[in-house]
């Protein structure tokens, strides 16, 4: 380890960490925006559940490097390419947990809400979703940690946040940036996971870890 390198690159490390966080936040946020309608559709029309999970599952199965490679001829070595790939990987995790979370709401509760006069939308927003929060947040946590790991791969298409250090370390056979990129990425994943768990307890105190 060359600590002088770390000292000299303090600003770069900070900037890369910020980019890493931005790429991750945008991917998970877009993933959620897409997953909610998909998850609701899968529940509303049960016949669509198979195709929706099958398609998001197929996306999830395609190795990240291959997916980025397929996009590069069309969207270039850009942030767009990175985000399309990253969002694709969050979908399966988020949709599955949204469906599972809503499925986990007891029928008694649903009937009681119906009996109290809730319309379908009100019942979803004020009864079912709050009860599904723990399972949905579990999905968000897995999706976030997975995305933080995958962002490093986007370093190969000129993005990558902390992944750029890992790739610099590989290309120059120089251990210091490699270790810095790896350690910071893992630390980021741990912090994000813990923070999301804490946030879930805050917004939904009834959720059990």
């Amino acid at each position: 380890m060359r600590w002088d390198w770390v000292r000299d690159h303090g600003d770069d490390i900070l900037a890369a960490t910020r980019q890493h966080v931005e790429l991750t936040l945008l991917a998970v946020a877009l993933g959620l925006v897409l997953s909610f309608p998909l998850g609701l559709a899968a529940r509303r029309w049960r016949r669509s559940e198979g195709p929706i999970l099958g398609l998001t599952g197929a996306l999830f199965t395609i190795p990240s490097l291959a997916l980025f490679a397929l996009l590069v001829p069309f969207t270039g070595l850009s942030r767009t390419t990175a985000e399309i790939g990253l969002v694709s990987y969050t979908l399966l995790i988020l949709v599955r947990n949204i469906v599972a979370g809503l499925d986990g709401v007891p029928d008694d509760v649903r009937e009681a809400a119906h009996g109290m006069g809730y319309r379908p939308l009100g019942q979803l927003m004020r009864v079912e979703l709050p009860l599904a929060v723990p399972v949905i947040v579990a999905g968000i946590r897995i999706a976030t940690v997975t995305t933080i790991g995958l962002v490093t791969v986007t370093g190969l298409i000129g993005q990558g946040g902390l992944g750029a250090f890992i790739i610099e370390g590989i290309n120059r056979d120089f251990r210091t940036p490699l270790v810095v990129g790896s350690v910071c990425s893992v630390a980021l994943a741990v912090v994000a996971d813990v923070a999301l768990a804490a946030a879930a307890r805050l917004v939904a105190p009834w959720s059990r870890p």
Binding site: A58, T61, I62, P63, S64, L65, A66, L67, A69, L70, V72, P73, F74, G76, L77, I93, R96, N97, V99, A100, G101, D103, G104, V135, A138, G139, I142, V145, T146, I148, G149, L150, T152, V153, G155, L156, I157, G163, I166, I167, G169, I170, R175, L178, V179, G181, S182, S185, V186, A189, V190, D193
Partner: protein, 242 residues
């Protein structure tokens, strides 16, 4: 880069060029390399990971470690593991340049989901069923072999599928560090700005991952007891483990 109108034709041309099918840099060689490496790494990870997960689950011990192992594995970027193993053990040596660190990295990445899923699968076995089996006079080994393992099999197989898909994907990334495999086409395509080669490589890798997943899904259907097949694993639990 210019929007490639002619790209599909270029990709077809790439696939139909005889040169791309010959020798150590040809598709058959790279495909075999990728498949053999993935298979060997998965097999090694199964030999290491499944007994550990099954034993811990059977004894009901080490739960915190077994459950969190997959989470830890997820947090460590595969590219980092590949690069760090390469730094640690070097590139040269049998069975080829860069193969040894790639193999070690793949095994290291495949073990956590195997252990966690096996453990959760074993713990999910209904305690009443276990009590009934004991009441029938089954010994620990009989209980394990004839009751717990068959019931835990769907989740154990879910772990194998997760691990397999991850191994195929990470073997692709091993081309970034030094090794061959199908990722070579993508990485070299990036280096040469050859879109046809990039897309051809990506298609081969994607195909390989999908075939792996579908094959293992079939294996799972074949080995899981008929009575358990209808029972849908609760998705949140399966995913917590995945």
């Amino acid at each position: 880069m210019v929007p490639p109108v002619s790209l599909p034709a270029e990709v077809v041309e790439w696939f139909t060029t005889a040169e791309h099918w010959r020798g150590d840099f040809g598709v058959p060689h790279r495909l075999t390399e990728h498949a053999l490496m993935s298979f060997a790494a998965l097999a090694a990870a199964i030999v290491i990971g499944l007994p550990v997960g099954i034993w811990l689950g059977h004894r009901g011990r080490g739960g915190a470690v077994a459950i969190n192992l997959a989470n830890v594995g997820r947090a460590v970027p595969s590219l980092a593991i590949l690069a760090l193993t390469q730094q640690a053990i070097g590139l040269s040596g049998w069975p080829g340049f860069g193969a040894r660190p790639a193999f070690v990295a793949l095994v290291a990445l495949a073990v956590p989901p195997l252990v966690t899923n096996a453990y959760v699968g074993m713990r999910e076995v209904d305690r009443d069923v276990v009590e009934a089996a004991r009441g029938m006079g089954m010994t620990g080994t009989e209980l394990l072999r004839r009751v717990e393992l068959p019931i835990a099999l769907p989740l154990i197989m879910a772990g194998v599928r997760t691990a397999a898909v991850q191994v195929v994907a990470t073997a692709t990334l091993a081309a970034v560090t030094a090794w061959g495999g199908l990722g070579r086409f993508i990485v070299d395509g990036f280096g040469q700005q050859d879109n046809a080669q990039i897309v051809a490589g990506a298609l081969l890798v994607g195909l390989m991952a999908l075939v792996t997943e579908l094959t293992l899904a079939r294996v799972q259907r074949a080995v899981v007891s008929e009575g358990l097949r209808a029972e849908k694993i609760r998705v949140d639990e399966a995913l917590a483990a995945a």
